[in-house]
């Protein structure tokens, strides 16, 4: 009897070595563990044995059955794994998604930064008149920027606000909002602007600007500096610094141009910043009292600051884009390089 157990074990060991598929294992399972299997037949003999033999034979037979079961189970899972195994080095499925244009993303990101400190977005109009684009901004009639070399005028009948034109900057938004909204104001205004510049690597007759301004009692130049420093650190990173240089704009007094420490060379001087270590990024200042007056705001009671920046230029600086035409060519090989920055 005990001999039977041993021979079954041997036989099983030989056979299990030879199996090569799940079906063959199934056959083995039926042969050794099925209802009519040899092991079952041996089990049916137990009642006829003596008391001592019953105990030892039964135990050994159970051990054998368990061994075989385990052996088969592990073989099964081995084959299953093999069957489900895939070549993980195969290329991935092509997943397509769209993206916002880099100019839109940059513009939105800039606006979001200002929105976090309480500014609201108000878009202006692209078709403007001389009053809003120039006169109200204290740009006198004889100013060079009003000439046809620097502004696109439109074939539309002139009215009491002067000739119609395509805005040459986003500053007229300032006037529109101040004319129509009660104080205090903290507004950011992005959009397209137009200038008759011949198209080349750094010029475009259409580009994007963002205007920001804040008017209230007691708004000061140091507030302007604070807001712009907050913006620069949020957008370019904590390690940048700003430099304010006095400048001239008809619509602000005092006026400044703002440079950012070059993010390529960290201020040491490189080809991007023309060895200066600084890159000009925006113009700003305290809103000129005449501009406030033109919008019906008393400059003795209220003051404000304003700033304007070129989105194209900032995007070019941040992403190392060397040709402004890339923005408007819309080649997918360009468009697909950026994702929700």
């Amino acid at each position: 009897m005990h001999e039977d157990i041993k021979s079954i074990e041997r036989e099983f060991a030989e056979e299990i070595e030879k199996v090569s598929s799940l079906q063959e294992i199934e056959k083995l399972r039926i042969k050794y563990l099925g209802r009519k299997s040899v092991i079952n037949q041996l089990f049916s003999k137990i009642p006829h044995l003596s008391k001592e033999e019953k105990a030892s034979f039964g135990r050994n037979l159970n051990i054998l059955k368990q061994k075989i079961t385990e052996c088969i189970d592990s073989k099964v899972s081995l084959f299953r794994d093999k069957e489900e195994k895939i070549d993980v080095t195969f290329p991935a499925e092509g997943i397509y998604f769209g993206r916002k244009h880099i100019l839109t993303s940059v513009s939105e990101e800039i606006c979001n930064i200002f929105e976090k400190i309480g500014f609201v977005v108000v878009e202006g109009k692209e078709i403007e008149d001389e009053w809003h684009n120039f006169t109200a901004l204290n740009i006198p009639l004889e100013h060079p920027s009003r000439e046809a070399f620097d502004t696109f005028y439109l074939k539309l009948p002139q009215d009491d606000k002067g000739k119609y034109l395509l805005r040459s900057h986003t500053s007229p938004s300032q006037i529109r909002v101040m004319e129509n909204t009660s104080l205090p104001l903290a507004v950011i205004s992005p959009g397209r602007v137009y200038r008759p510049d011949k198209v080349d690597a750094s010029h475009s007759f259409m580009f994007f600007q963002i205007e920001g301004f804040c008017v209230d009692k007691c708004i000061s130049f140091s507030h302007l500096k604070g807001v712009l420093l907050y913006f620069a650190k949020s957008f370019f990173g904590d390690d940048v610094s700003l430099r304010f240089r006095p400048h001239f704009f008809p619509f602000t007094e005092p006026s400044a141009e703002v440079d950012i420490s070059c993010m390529i060379c960290k201020g040491k001087g490189c080809s991007v910043c023309s060895r200066k270590g600084w890159l000009e990024i925006l113009g700003c200042g305290m809103i000129h009292p005449k501009v406030l007056k033109h919008c019906g705001i008393n400059p003795n009671k209220y003051s404000g600051f304003a700033f304007g920046m070129g989105v194209d230029r900032i995007a070019m600086l941040k992403y190392g884009i060397n040709d402004i035409r890339l923005f408007y060519e819309n080649d997918t090989r360009f468009l697909r390089q950026f994702y929700e920055v």
Binding site: K100, E142, K225, F248, N330, D331
Partner: protein, 661 residues
Amino acid sequence: MKFSLNFLKEFFDTRISPQRIAHILTMGGLEIESIEQVGDDYIFTAEVTSNRYDWLSIFGIAYELAGLSGKKLKFNLPKIIRTPHLKGVRINIEDKKDCMVYIARLIKNVEIKTSPIWLKERVKNCGINTVNNVVDITNYCMLKWGNPLHAFDFDKIEGDIYIRRAKKGESFVGLDDKEYVLTEDNLVISDDKKVIALAGVMGAKSTEVDFTTKNILLEAAIFSPLRIRRSRRSVGLDTESSYRFERNVSDRLLEVASYEALRLISQICNGINAGYKKTGRNRPSFSKTISFDLSQLNRHIGEAFSSFKVERILTNFGFKVKIKNKKEFSVVPPFFRLDVRLKEDVFEEVARGWGYNRIKEELPPVKPQKTKDELYSFKQKLRSFLANLGLNEIVTYSLTSDNKLSVLGEKSFIGLDNPLRVQENALRTTLLLGMVECIQHNINQKNDNLKFFEIANIYRKDNNAIVEQPFLGCIVDEESGGFYYLKGVAQKILEFLNIKDFIFLEAKEECFLNTLRIVTKEKCIGTLGVLDRETLQKVNVKSKVSFFELDINMAYKFKKEFKYSPFSRYPVIYRDVSLGIKKDVKFMEIENIIRGCVKEFLHHYRILDIYRSKDLSEEFLAVTLRVFYQAKDRTLTSCEVDDLHFKLREKLAHREGVVLR
């Protein structure tokens, strides 16, 4: 504008290093772009802002540098000699608006030679070629004081001097040997016979000072900045002289410059002062008193300057300062600072003198705003939605050509008065043109997956009103999905807008074949279609493209807030039906039959399979549909579904042109 260190030292003998000078001036608002060493001199190239004509002179820069480095420049203006009176030459100014003042000095018996070395260096290091001693002296004085001078060969002048507008077609040969044809835009100096100078821009060859010249007439004048700009632009010239006149010159330094030139010509060229004549009157002086309170200044800048500090800064910049009660300031700007008129201008001087970068940074206490542009955030969300949907955003030019617009049958577009090129001489009335160009570019480049959208304004005239309106445009080529892809995009956008009561209405639109209008509440909010072959040809596109345009204002108006609605959890059971549909039967009719027949038990249906025969003569389209049934309140039995489906099949089979397969 170029200036040199040695020249600067004629006024301000400083030991500050050239690099430091560049930094001080840059941070004071006179941006130094480069420094170059030449011999023992340093040449600075500066960018002068348009308000500071005083920086177009060595005098002005020296004054500024002194002020910025905490010192007050000491200088003495010479006593001007205005005798003897110049006789025999009349000076006639046609319009005092074009020329306010004209000073002529006659200097006789000059010896024209090359200049002494020091003079050559001064002029050369400021970027001007040396010519001869007289011309170099006039340039030296211009550089020093900012007032351009001109020397005529007196013996070549015939008769009197006239300052007048040119006659149309009048011509003039300049010192550059080029001939210029003039218009009424040009202001000229002429004698009885000929033009002897393009006023404020360039002298004429005919009266040039050369090595044979004996007597000279020295001109010093004040011309209208605007006139000089128009005049030099009309002939395409830009000279050291016009650059200064365009930005204004000082009345007071005019006499100084003219007198110093006389003095130097006497010294260096042995000339003899033979007459002085001034025509016109100096402009009224602007240097009036500006009053302000120290607290106003501190509030504007956001600092706590002491009155002592403010007084020192302003005094160093040449202001006369009076202080009452330690805080009430009355200041008078120096005579050469015509740009300082208001107290805010004075505040800027204080801020500059203190240093912009030393002013502290603070965040303003921003109060809640009463205005908000809802449409902006709507567009922002729509952009994100479309990008997530798989379309790439593009940005195309708002300008296009009137020709292309006419091709599309547009009449109410707005043209440009002064276009750069004919390709961009009008504002677009549709996003289509720019987007089509983008598709074509990408096809040419063999790029794939061309699914684009743009959100931007379109512009047109509507009777007398000017319309500037935001639109969404989507464009796709045939390879990337074509019409039915765009229809899907449109449907998804309607889902995004939560507009449920819309219909796609078949329509006829100019330039389009296969057009649908999206109509909700009887208003058309968008259209989509395939561009017809003729239009494709006219706009130069070689591939079939589909285009979808949505009126953003309308979409915003009709969009609805999302709200939860309960849904049925009972099982959905489907049955398939295969149909042969005759080509002239619209699928819309099949859909209507399904909706009308299954009614509330219709969960949804979808097309499993469409077989379009390649053979165009094939009359039938083979379509297999899967219809999903569900009840809201219970589980439908298999029998019920069979029953519903059987009725549906019957209805479909009864439709003419539809057969069950």
